[in-house]
């Protein structure tokens, strides 16, 4: 039973830890952050879905991510889910939890990737454990809204 703020603080400390570790690089290397998210997602989804019936298909899984999963982790549902039915999904969250405490202007747009990378990893990890291999990228055009692009890898 932990309070919500713990996760917020822990998350920003993780970001700080990862960003602080890579110095002298022009492009920030956030892969560690993504990996931390990945392993978190991989584990949490296992616990969340253990009592649940099997998902019908990929879209059903995505819907689960957008509704139940998102509201459990990010306290709200995804505002918009779009797909081309060929393995590309776009999840849009208009007030993303980890960005909602940053200023709404353009001031912090540059550092926004730091605050969404963990979540990209969480999504990828969760889907990976549900047997959907994918690439997840995030796009932030104006804070605090954020779009997550999921590209399912078909082999």
């Amino acid at each position: 039973m932990a309070d919500d703020i713990l996760l917020d603080l822990l998350h920003s400390e993780i970001v700080q830890y990862v960003v602080g570790n890579n110095d002298n690089m022009k492009d920030e290397d956030l892969s560690t952050l993504e990996y931390i998210g990945f392993s978190t997602g991989y584990r949490i989804i296992e616990r969340l879905t253990k009592e649940m019936p099997r998902f019908k298909d990929e879209l059903d899984t995505m819907k689960f991510i957008c509704t139940d999963f998102w509201s459990a982790v990010y306290k709200k549902q995804i505002d918009n889910l779009r797909t081309n039915h060929q393995g590309v999904y776009v999840l849009q969250d208009n007030v993303f939890r980890f960005l909602s405490r940053l200023s709404n202007g353009k001031q912090y747009l540059e550092v926004a990737p730091r605050y969404v990378t963990f979540t990209c990893g969480v999504i990828r990890g969760s889907l990976a454990n549900l047997n959907i291999q994918c690439l997840v990228t995030a796009e932030v055009q104006s804070l605090p809204s954020c779009k997550f692009h999921i590209q399912v890898q078909r082999t």
Partner: protein, 176 residues
């Protein structure tokens, strides 16, 4: 959609546990020495503590601590508020400047096992750091460390707090 919703409190707590776990795992990878990891965890706790105290004061509306007993009570209620556990305050030193929190369950170490080669790792150091950071913001200088750890086979988790001194307001530079 007739799916049952999750118990969000529980999910959040598991999420914190798992996220913390992956962070520690990453640090163990990054540093060769478990002591360095413990130090980092303490620092992270400290950083969280100095922010957490603000949230705590605004949520509870408590005033200044009268004495160390009062401080211990307040930290106890912070444990309840943030981790959902109720530790006992015990083992007061004769001088009354040291005490321990005994946690019979620790949400941070649920689902966690320490491998043999990491027995020195102080997994719960983040709590010590948080206590230190939070108290520094209310002008109390303390030391905090883990005495017993369930991860190392002890019955309970025991966190010791030692009062060092009261911090004085420093005069801003250039003022008499």
């Amino acid at each position: 959609m007739s799916r049952q919703r999750f118990d969000t409190k529980k999910v959040n707590s598991e999420l914190v546990t798992l996220t913390y776990g992956t962070l520690v795992a990453q640090m163990v990878k990054d540093f060769d020495n478990p002591d360095d990891v413990s130090k980092q965890l303490d620092r992270i706790g400290y950083n969280m503590g100095i922010r957490l105290i603000e949230d705590f004061l605004s949520k509870t509306g408590t005033g200044r601590c009268l004495d160390l007993k009062d401080t211990a009570d307040k930290i106890q209620s912070a444990f309840r508020l943030y981790l959902g556990v109720q530790p006992n305050v015990v083992n007061w030193s004769p001088a009354g400047d040291e005490f321990s929190f005994i946690l019979d369950s620790n949400p941070l170490t649920e689902l966690v096992e320490l491998p043999e080669d990491l027995k020195q790792l102080k997994y719960c150091n983040i709590i010590c750091g948080a206590i230190r950071g939070a108290l520094e913001m209310v002008q109390l200088d303390v030391q905090s460390w883990v005495v017993q750890d369930q991860l190392k086979g002890d019955q309970n988790t025991e966190i010791r707090v030692k009062f060092i001194r009261r911090l004085e307001d420093a005069m801003p530079a250039g003022e008499e």
